[in-house]
């Protein structure tokens, strides 16, 4: 199996799905000739031509709105938002339109649309090129949200997303793009949307997380193992629909739960995970449910010291797990 970076898994999934289904096309800013500012669509313009790898005007609402129209017609658009931070001009199209088209038409009009967007920090991106935006959309019924952490998951989940008839937000942690490499089968495979993945078995503390912190947690878990602390790591992979069974099972496994995400703590998706556990497994808990998240400041600053203070890292996570283990 070839080693593949996270971003190459994105490109591979896109290419294979475009080869497989003529209705799949890509649109976004700089996705064509430039191959994307992160180069996630590199080579696709050359292979599929400018009509199917469309450089749009600088208008996010149009990117999503046009994609919705095309999807309703029967195409399978994959829209790229250059940075997740710039998805907000498209909020109305996403929440009022994509999320509700199927419901409001009583199941007669579908919206098979994927919106890809790189998110997350730790890349000197400052306030507006570092944000996590999943909480904004995670409570909107009608949308699904996929946030893979590994190249393997990226390929399988992006394929599932493109083949799905639902509107799906597919958020890619930009710090993972070139940092995370993995063995990825060359064959076609899909991973079901809505299934969490146990990334590590453990018995002392359960961590429930997604995206970049999955890797930070696995690193921390390795260190903690030496101290005799055994960490159970559940990677949600899909936020909506949430794999509630897997969440409850993982929580019950150790009775001590730490929910981790890079997005701000208050109002973040972690609250939903905690609430699920508090509703369904309260009496299996041996400690208060903890959240380790981005602080409640608007976004991470450019200055490296402030950025570091905002970002999660192995040590912060190890400390939080240690505290919980000792509880």
């Amino acid at each position: 199996m070839p080693m593949m970076s996270y971003i190459d898994a994105v490109t591979t999934a896109l290419r294979e799905e475009m080869e497989r289904d003529e209705r799949v096309f890509i649109l976004g800013e700089d996705v064509g000739k430039r191959g994307g500012v992160f180069r996630a669509t590199a080579g696709l313009y050359e292979q599929f031509g400018e009509a199917r790898v469309l450089d749009t005007p600088l208008t996010e609402s149009a990117i999503v709105g046009v994609a919705i129209g095309a999807a309703a017609y029967g195409m399978r658009p994959v829209a790229e938002i250059q940075f997740a931070d710039f998805i907000f001009p498209a909020t109305n199209q996403i929440i009022s339109e994509a999320a509700k088209l199927y419901y409001r038409s009583n199941g007669t009009w579908k919206c098979p649309l994927v919106i890809r967007a790189p998110y997350g920090g730790g890349v000197h991106g400052a306030l507006y090129h570092s944000q996590s935006v999943e909480k904004i959309f995670a409570g909107v019924p009608g949308l699904q949200i996929v946030m893979p952490s590994t190249p393997y998951d990226v390929k399988g989940l992006l394929k599932s997303a493109i083949r799905s008839d639902n509107p799906i937000l597919f958020f890619e942690h930009k710090r993972c793009y070139r940092l995370i490499k993995d063995e990825v089968p060359q064959e076609d495979y899909t991973i079901p949307i809505g299934k969490a993945d146990l990334k590590r078995e453990g018995s002392d503390v359960t961590v429930i997380t997604y995206g970049l912190p999955v890797h930070l947690t696995l690193e921390a878990a390795k260190d903690l193992e030496k101290e005799g602390i055994s960490t159970h790591v559940l990677d949600l992979r899909t936020l909506v629909p949430l794999d509630r069974e897997a969440v409850v099972e993982a929580a019950v496994k150790t009775g001590k739960v730490l929910v981790i995400h890079e997005d701000n703590k208050t109002g973040g998706f972690g609250g939903e995970v905690v609430a699920t556990i508090a509703e369904e497994a309260l009496f299996d808990l041996d400690a208060p449910i903890q959240r380790l998240c981005g602080p409640d400041v608007p976004a991470m600053p450019y200055n490296p010291i402030l950025e570091k203070e905002f970002m999660l890292n192995k040590d912060k996570i190890a400390n939080a797990i240690r505290e919980l283990a000792e509880f």
């Binding site: 096309f25 009509a51 199917r52 749009t56 005007p57 208008t59 609402s61 149009a62 999503v64 709105g65 046009v66 994609a67 919705i68 129209g69 095309a70 999807a71 309703a72 017609y73 029967g74 195409m75 658009p77 001009p89 109305n92 199209q93 009022s96 339109e97 509700k100 088209l101 199927y102 419901y103 409001r104 038409s105 009583n106 199941g107 007669t108 009009w109 579908k110 019924p141 009608g142 699904q144 799905s164 008839d165 639902n166 629909p241």
Partner: protein, 325 residues
């Protein structure tokens, strides 16, 4: 007149029929609302000529529309029935637009290529561009018409749509039904320059102002736009100028922001009356025929009202359906 524009006598009579049908249906909806039978209605009155003129300029067998909440006459001309719309007014399960989920006036019908619409204004204008782009990818030759009010034409989405369609020379007709008011806000407080057609300059395609009380003039303007679109020469913006004869909706009271005289003046130019006179004067239509048509229409409306009133509601558990495919 109409023959010069390429319309047969039968076609103009048919146009008139749709206009009258829409008007009478619309009037009934207000009655039903005032009688407490339906909680809400929003009116096409005064705009029937625009909508029917536009519909006839399209190929109603293959073109697409992304309409807005006043386009009752447009969707009727595209194939929806009085019953379909009564079912929506009564919010019954059988309503083809939404199964009673949306307010009346929120059209959507897969049978007639009428894209499902929402309430936030002008989102559909971008969808129209997307459908046109899909048609281009599939090398189809259909045209997409999308409409909205003049106030709505200020929304960012409207502009982004025009620009996108202009860059890609897509077969879209952007129609603005300028009825002088956006709820209470008059044109001059809403639209800088008060000339919406001029906005097309900024997108490199033609913008045409047309008298919206003259369905034949609208027909011709839209026909030219459709021909241009179908032959690959890109979009056109049509600003059809008219007047909103009734309050914004059944929830509105327009006396607080416009005078009765102003409304009465406008009623004299009501496109339906003008067009009826045109038919009568040109001996295409008689008072007698008009009475017969009216009777037919009223029967259709009565039947549809009775049917829709008696039609079953959705089940409570239907609430949970169709969130995801």
């Amino acid at each position: 007149m109409h023959r010069q524009r390429g319309l047969t006598d039968e076609q103009v009579v048919e146009m008139y029929r749709y206009m009258l049908l829409a008007r009478k249906l619309d009037e009934r909806l207000w009655l039903l609302n005032r009688a407490g039978k339906i909680p809400f209605t929003i009116s096409c009155q005064g705009q029937e000529g625009i909508q029917v003129g536009a519909a006839f300029a399209l190929d109603r067998e293959k073109d697409w529309i992304c309409p807005y909440y006043r386009d009752l006459a447009l969707v009727l001309a595209f194939g929806q029935t009085v019953r379909d719309n009564m079912l929506a007014a009564f919010a019954k399960a059988e309503d083809p637009n939404s199964g009673g989920r949306q307010m009346p006036g929120h059209y959507g019908d897969t049978r007639y290529r009428i894209l499902s619409g929402s309430s936030p204004v002008t989102t559909q204008v971008l969808h129209a561009v997307g459908i046109a782009y899909a048609g281009k990818l599939e090398q189809k030759d259909f045209v997409v018409l999308t409409s909205c009010g003049e106030g709505s034409s200020n929304q960012g989405d409207w502009h982004e749509a025009c620009n996108f369609a202009g860059v890609h020379q897509l077969p879209v007709v952007f129609m603005v039904e300028n009825n002088q008011y956006a709820i209470s806000v008059p044109l001059e407080k809403q639209v800088a320059g008060e000339n919406i057609a001029a906005r097309a300059n900024g997108y490199g395609f033609p913008g045409i102002q047309v008298d919206g009380n003259d369905p034949l003039a609208v027909y011709q303007a839209v026909k030219e736009a459709v021909d241009r679109a179908r032959s690959g020469n890109g979009p056109t913006l049509i600003e059809a100028i008219t007047y909103r004869l009734l309050p914004h909706s059944s929830d509105d009271d327009d006396r607080s922001y416009r005078s009765n005289e102003e409304v009465e003046m406008a009623k004299k130019k009501d496109g339906l009356l003008v067009f009826r006179n045109y038919l009568l004067e040109n001996k295409l239509w008689t008072e007698q025929q008009d009475q017969e048509l009216l009777a037919q229409i009223m029967e259709e409306i009565n039947e549809a009202t009775a049917y829709a009133e008696a039609a079953p509601h959705p089940n409570p558990t239907d609430l949970y359906k169709h969130v995801y495919v």
